[in-house]
């Protein structure tokens, strides 16, 4: 049987998602998120699991932390040549793993802490981030057998083809401490034999875990392609990550506006001229179909449902912690007693920010639909 890779075919999937944030920025071990996502085992089928962790590399805070997967050594040498040409690599190592019998054939996983070479930036006339996006696109679609799992600062994505708790064990996440964790358990309807396809999807500091299927994928993708994004993975989640990057970084929109684009207000409820304008202008970025997503970046996370809430999403607070999950039970598993628990409406975002930390998650909110603690 020919095992198709993610990207060679589009795979619909159901999923579990979870996120835990300490709003004071205090770091905590990955145990909790593993326990949380593991409790939703029935929502996955062992064909994908992953985590994003923010705050895990304080010693390389200024560098881009690149997580790369290689199918083979050739891919590594090709990629490293390219990296060396474009980056000053401060440190590189294989990502430490723990043997786990329930994790199948794993790719080589490496991590690099790197700064883009100034001369390359000048050559290409790009800012750092644009350059980074270009690099990611280049490696992911240009080098066979290589894949960038994450590329942000002080963060990393750990994902693979197994139940999420096994992935967590494999990557020894109990040994990492982060102030923000997101996790994903996947139920794809096919058997993609490739780790790159698992969630979270990341770009720069963005990571996205996603439960759902985006029927508007074709429209979203063709719109993004006009702006240089190449959706090599053919997965909805990739598109969501790019949409956040496009709207918030490139177009400079706030989170509220971004949410109002991907989960737009219905025309019949549209009172606000600005919202209408956003819809007119970015109508192709409406995410249509069932989804619940958690988008994380260095200074917090935001969760949002599709506008008619076709997928589950619950949120809860306890002290400084914000929990988001597909199921209430998963939150109760790690925090039985909660200050507050609620189920956000369709299109109504839950946003958790880290106090006094500047980052891309800049809500510019009027406070009406923010419902985090």
């Amino acid at each position: 049987m020919v095992r198709l890779k993610e990207g060679e075919v589009r795979i619909p999937s159901g999923c579990a998602i979870a996120g835990i944030l300490n709003q004071k920025g205090t770091c905590f071990s990955g145990d909790r998120i593993i326990s949380c996502i593991a409790s939703m085992r029935q929502r996955s089928n062992g064909l994908g699991g992953g985590f994003a962790a923010y705050g895990i590399y304080p010693q390389y805070e200024k560098q881009y932390a690149l997580h790369l997967y290689y199918d083979h050594e050739k891919a590594r040498s090709e990629s490293e040549t390219l990296l060396n040409r474009n980056f000053k690599i401060c440190y590189a190592e294989p990502i430490p793993v723990r043997k786990n019998s329930r994790v199948g054939e794993a790719p080589l996983a490496w991590r690099y802490f790197a700064d883009p070479r100034e001369e390359r930036l000048q050559e290409q006339g790009m800012d750092e981030e644009e350059f980074m996006v270009g690099m990611v696109m280049q490696i992911n679609s240009g080098i066979a057998g290589a894949f960038i799992a994450s590329s942000g600062h002080n963060m990393g994505a750990f994902k693979g083809m197994a139940y999420p708790e096994d992935i967590g064990d494999y990557f020894r996440l109990d040994e990492y401490r982060a102030y923000l964790w997101t996790a994903h358990g996947r139920f794809p309807t096919n058997t993609p034999g490739w780790w790159g396809g698992a969630h979270p999807f990341t770009l720069l500091d963005w990571s996205v875990v996603h439960n759902g299927e985006i029927s508007s994928y074709g429209s979203n993708r063709r719109f993004l392609e006009m702006f240089g994004y190449r959706c090599s993975l053919q997965t909805d989640t990739e598109v969501i990550a790019y949409i956040f990057d496009f709207l918030m970084r490139r177009e400079g929109l706030g989170l509220d506006d971004t949410v109002k684009i991907i989960a737009a207000t219905f025309w019949e409820d549209m009172g606000d001229r600005k919202l209408a304008w956003l819809r007119h202008r970015y109508s192709s970025l409406l995410l249509n179909g069932p989804f619940s997503i958690i988008v994380a970046t260095g200074n917090g996370m935001a969760a949002v449902n599709d506008r008619i809430k076709l997928r589950p999403l619950v949120a809860a607070c306890k002290d400084d912690f914000l929990y988001i999950s597909s199921e209430e039970a998963a939150i109760r598993k790690v925090e039985p007693v909660l200050d507050k628990l609620w189920s956000p409406s369709g299109g109504e975002p839950v946003i958790g920010l880290i106090d006094n930390k500047v980052g891309l998650l800049e809500p510019k909110l009027n406070g009406v639909f923010i419902r985090s603690a």
Binding site: G14, S216, S219, A264, R281, I308
Partner: protein, 493 residues
């Protein structure tokens, strides 16, 4: 004149045992096919165009129209139609005229595209329970904020009535379509025949055309509109001008067009102030200045071989809306050879143009309107998935009003009161009825589109636009699939 060799094309069959000699057929046939002489009914089959008016109105169901049983020896190269055309030209020495759209059996790409639906992994949506948005906005969407927003037109559904000039069609057609457009929150199009003052009240739903003849163009015309459309060409006759015979230029038509009554109204083939793309840019800018940058400017072109390059040029010339009319687009009158042999299908042109504009990164500057042979809501959905923002319908709208596609619009003797300005005939289209029927058609299509979208799990038409993953080709070759940008049926992804 010597003997004509043209035999009748149709034969009127009257079932004598049913005919009650009421004379309705006699009274209704503008072609004077039926006659009642002293209780004897007879027909002049030569004049019959198979418009079916008599059949529809006969209270005794006594009439049937059949093909005239004239058998030439079978010859698949020299078909009966070919032979007849030669007879006709040998009789008249003239160009063959034809009405409505290309009737030939070219491949219809719409019929080779299949739509997708949701199963299990994502839920289909029930349009009766959940909101289902067909709202569509047309115009340049590159404004940097709501304050710098370029003029946009919002439609309730992505279907508009295409250009048909007053003169080529009756005022009652315009009244019907304008009222239906108003009721359905969409646009209708004046065509190049000017805007009758009675219809100024429908200005918010009117697309007014500026065409090569400049008929009826004056400040109030431009002002009383939602969109101004520069017509470069139309699908039925790319590269050809228009000719409204003097007989159709009634006083009312003349006043509206600002030309002398009963004189021929000739639209030149080109605009004589547009000999190149930069001239178009000037005209676009002129119209924008004239209307205070408050209205989107549309440009309508026929789908020809290098349509994508033309489209790119038109967008860069400042058009906010680009309407592309495929080779099945209809007309009141066109030389038959042009109608049947010039241009390319709208599906191909649309796919090509959408891809090209995206490649060039200028797709956001313009809204694409597909026209020419859209027959039903599935065609609409397919056109939008191929990349259109909206579609224009005209033939379908006329059929809704009663057109039976006899294709004899240019005679001015339309028995259904559509393609005529004769008061006794145009009276046959009661705008109350026409508006209701046209509105019903749009409503029906709206429901169907919602059903289709719901099945796809999509609740806003925005998410269908250019979403070619929702299409699969069937019976198409690799080259055609590539041009259309769709995968073959059975192909995953």
């Amino acid at each position: 004149m010597a003997l004509t060799m043209l035999a009748p094309v149709f034969k009127v069959e009257r079932e004598e045992s049913r005919c009650i000699k009421c004379g309705v057929c006699v009274q209704q046939c503008a072609n004077e096919v039926h006659h009642l002489d002293n209780g004897w009914m007879w027909t002049n089959d030569e004049e019959c165009v198979a418009c079916q008016r008599c059949v529809s109105l006969c209270p005794a169901q006594a009439l049937a129209i059949k093909e005239y049983p004239l058998s030439f020896r079978v010859n698949s190269h020299w078909t009966p139609a070919t032979i007849r055309e030669i007879y006709a030209q040998a009789d008249s020495g003239g160009v063959l005229l034809a009405g409505m759209g290309n009737p030939r059996s070219y491949k219809s790409y719409f019929d080779h595209l299949l739509l997708n639906a949701s199963q299990v992994t994502n839920p289909s949506i029930d349009p009766l329970r959940e909101p289902m948005e067909l709202n569509t906005s047309l115009g340049n969407k590159t404004g940097s904020s709501e304050l710098s927003e370029k003029p946009l037109i919002s439609l309730r559904l992505p279907i508009m009535f295409s250009a048909m000039s007053f003169g080529s069609v009756s005022l009652n057609v315009h009244k019907s379509l304008s009222r239906a457009a108003y009721a359905m929150g969409t646009l209708w199009n004046t065509g190049e025949g000017g805007l009758h003052p009675d219809l100024f009240s429908y200005k918010d739903n009117a697309v007014v055309q500026v065409a090569s003849g400049r008929f009826g163009v004056h400040p109030a015309y431009l002002e009383n509109s939602a969109v101004i459309e520069i017509k470069i060409g139309q699908g039925a006759k790319p590269g050809i001008g228009g000719h409204l015979p003097g007989a159709k230029v009634s006083e009312e038509v003349a006043r509206t067009r600002m030309i002398p009554a009963w004189s021929d109204a000739i639209s030149p083939a080109p605009h004589h102030d547009i000999y190149s793309i930069e001239d178009l840019a000037q005209l676009i800018e002129t119209l924008k200045v004239a209307t205070g940058y408050k209205k989107p400017i549309a440009v309508k072109v026929a789908a020809v071989h290098n349509i994508s390059a033309i489209a790119s040029g038109v967008v860069r010339a400042g058009a906010d809306i680009l309407a592309i009319d495929g080779f099945r687009g209809a007309t009141g009158a066109a030389p038959m050879r042009i109608r049947d042999h010039v241009g390319i299908p709208i599906e191909i042109a649309l796919a090509q143009v959408d891809s090209r504009l995206r490649d060039e990164g200028i797709r956001q500057q313009v809204s694409l309107v597909a026209a020419g042979g859209i027959r039903n809501s599935a065609d609409v959905v397919k056109a939008i998935a191929l990349g259109a923002d909206a579609v224009y319908i005209a033939t379908a709208a006329l059929i809704a009003l009663g057109c039976h596609l006899c294709q004899m619009c240019f005679t001015g003797k339309c028995n259904w009161g559509i393609a005529t300005t004769r008061p006794d005939l145009s009276r046959r289209l009661n705008p109350e009825v026409g508006a209701k029927r046209a509105q019903n058609l749009l409503q029906a299509w709206e429901h169907e589109i919602k059903e289709i979208m719901g099945a796809m799990g999509i609740n806003a038409i925005d998410s269908l636009r250019g979403n070619r993953l929702m299409l699969r080709g069937i019976g198409l070759g690799p080259e055609e699939l590539k041009i259309l940008g769709v995968k073959a049926a059975g192909e995953e992804g």
